[in-house]
């Protein structure tokens, strides 16, 4: 029996270095934020007044919340889908054994390793309305300059371009791996049977790489919910809230307006969305995805 107690203690010793920080900085705060969302606190006052569902009621009546919800959805769709399609197209383009594909791969992937803050600063210079390069390129085609980051119709588009630029190479690598693992005999057999390139892609390649597509969709969606750096540098949620996502609303009400209760209720909404998405992805993953 002594050995059993010893074994349990030993296992605890092995897990504690990871579990304690997880409890203190993640699981504990996770519980705490649910509690905070029922209070009316401002960082300062000594006690936290319990206000029940007031914060949620306020949130549901606040047009800024709905706008943030909309921006979050637009940002999610506008980043995830182009990144995945772009990544797949690039991978298809590169897949056939090109001799120098290593160089291309490095070029296309490199933005992913660079700090978002620094590259967002560079991009905000490119998007500068008067002398920026983006408007210069548009002028080649006779298109009048766009206000980009200062125009509420275009600011989100500009941020999405940066996001796509930064992540498309990352998605491409996933698809390259997936394409390389395709069974070549199957594709050859299909082409012997007279299947054209498109139908081979549609009926063999696409279903076989669906686990990768699925994985990317989940990860990229969760990443899109966390996007902060590029928004903070380029627009700070503006103009007129057109780039204010839920996360950014959460940050602003917590650390700019010092409204802890309200901010917490926004965070709870973000957490619920994550749980919901994970649940959906679990169900879809079991039903639809074609694992080999």
């Amino acid at each position: 029996m002594k050995t059993k107690i010893f074994r349990e203690t030993e296992a605890l010793l092995f897990t504690m270095p990871a579990v304690i920080p997880l409890l203190v900085f993640w699981l504990g705060p996770l519980g705490y934020i649910f509690y905070l969302s029922f209070t009316d606190w401002d960082f300062m006052s000594p006690d936290k007044l319990f206000v029940g569902l007031d914060n949620y009621r306020y949130l549901l009546g606040n047009p800024e919340f709905y706008q943030a919800l909309k921006v979050t959805a637009l940002f999610g769709i506008g980043s995830v889908i182009p990144i995945m399609i772009g990544g797949l197209l690039l991978a298809l383009l590169m897949n056939s054994k090109l001799r120098t594909s290593g160089i291309y791969r490095a070029f296309i992937f490199s933005p992913w390793v660079t700090p978002t803050v620094a590259v967002s600063i560079v991009w905000s210079w490119i998007f500068q309305p008067d002398v920026g390069y983006a408007n210069h390129v548009l002028s080649w085609f006779g298109i009048a300059g766009i206000g980009w980051l200062q125009d509420s119709n275009w600011a989100l588009v500009a941020i999405l371009i940066v996001t796509l630029w930064k992540s498309v190479g990352w998605a491409m690598i996933f698809y390259l791996v997936a394409l390389r693992n395709l069974p070549s005999d199957l594709l050859e057999a299909a082409s012997m049977d007279g299947a054209g390139a498109w139908s081979r892609f549609r009926h063999i390649t696409l279903p076989l790489i669906s686990p990768t597509t699925f994985f990317l969709a989940v990860i990229l969606t969760i990443q899109s919910l966390q996007a902060y750096d590029q928004i903070n540098v380029m627009t700070q949620g503006g103009p007129a809230g057109s780039t204010r996502t839920l996360l950014y609303l959460y940050y602003q009400s917590a650390f700019e307006a010092f409204n802890v209760g309200e901010a917490s209720s926004v965070a709870v909404v973000i957490i619920l969305i994550c749980v919901l998405l994970s649940g959906c992805s679990f169900l879809i993953g079991r039903k639809m995805v074609h694992y080999q």
């Binding site: 030993e10 897990t15 900085f25 090109l98 070029f107 560079v122 750096d229 994550c274 994970s278």
Partner: protein
């Protein structure tokens, strides 16, 4: 490419060996038809198209970096001219020197490297111990802990920054590296990654070690860890890059300029230093030397970094 095509034309009257033909005129369809090997040349045409498209895309992807470096050389006069000059008229090296001295960038970069290294080191230790316990030890709370780690994979830590901030302030660890490092010292992703590698290591090795009287601790560090070396390399690189680039959380909890990491430092130079809108060449120069260490790191560790993608796909399947 054009030049090789033209050269090929002049020599195509002589018989050409197939090998040379393939490497010679990739984009020259006319020569192909003359030789009668239509299909091969049509394929080559497709390949040429791929090369051209990939070259264009690569250049587009690299353009922001090019633009950053070149804008860093321009005079204030030149940078505000429209249309912009693609190649700087004068190379004002002093912009880089001025920017470097305008804010403590050397310090910021060293801060980022130091914090990134410390966090990577801690994660090697706690992820491998946790992963070892989850894969090669038997204990009661195993299921619970696996669940906790799984949940961590689902809910991003960004959502709990506010309460984490409050916890750090309760612990008197705000505005300190201890706080920054401790709050980042566990990564669920790293645990998963290492767990994945450890699962592939036969449990018999552990048992053999135990028969020899070795403790779990010894087995982990002398037998198991060396076998998973490549996974550790990937983990360290990814963690380091992530932490070097980290902005949101360090910006929230470190306020003194001395402690700022490079992203936060660059961002305050961009906004507060009166630089915004006025000193674009210096801002571009500063961005350039913030990004440079990572691009250099990427140059040398390309293979490992891209390998990480392969591994993280594996993480998700389980």
């Amino acid at each position: 490419m054009n030049m090789t095509g033209a050269g090929k034309d002049t020599t195509s009257y002589e018989p050409v060996t197939p090998g040379r033909r393939r490497s010679g005129s990739r984009s020259n369809g006319a020569a192909g038809r003359r030789d009668g090997t239509v299909t091969r040349y049509r394929l080559s045409g497709g390949t040429a198209l791929r090369y051209i498209m990939l070259t264009v895309i690569s250049l587009l992807m690299a353009f922001p970096f090019y633009w950053m470096v070149m804008s860093g050389f321009k005079t204030n006069d030149e940078i505000f001219r429209f249309p912009p000059t693609f190649w700087p008229e004068t190379f004002l090296w002093s912009n880089y020197v001025d920017a470097w001295h305008a804010a403590p960038f050397a310090r910021y970069i060293l801060n980022s490297i130091g914090v990134g290294a410390a966090i990577s080191l801690l994660q090697i230790i706690n992820s491998s111990m946790m992963a070892y316990a989850l894969t090669h030890m038997r204990f009661r709370l195993k299921g619970l802990f696996t669940g906790v780690v799984l949940l961590g994979y689902m809910i991003p830590s960004t959502a709990v920054y506010l309460p984490s901030y409050l916890v750090l302030s309760k612990l008197q660890l705000l505005d300190s590296y201890t706080g920054l490092i401790l709050s980042n010292c566990v990564s669920v992703f790293s645990i998963f990654l290492i767990r994945q590698a450890f699962m592939q290591i036969s449990h018999e090795l552990v048992e053999a070690g135990q028969l020899d009287g070795a403790s779990h601790f010894r087995i982990l560090w002398t037998i198991i860890t060396p076998l998973a070396r490549s996974t550790f390399a990937v983990m360290v690189l990814i963690t380091f890059i992530e932490q070097y680039n980290n902005y949101f959380w360090p910006m929230l909890i470190t306020k003194s300029p001395d402690l700022q990491l490079v992203s936060a430092g660059l961002r305050s130079f961009f906004v507060e230093g009166g630089a915004y809108g006025l000193k674009w060449p210096q801002i571009m120069a500063a961005s350039a030397f913030t990004i440079a260490p990572l691009l250099i790191l990427f140059l040398f560790t390309q293979k490992t970094i891209m390998q990480s993608v392969n591994m993280s796909a594996g993480v998700n399947k389980n």
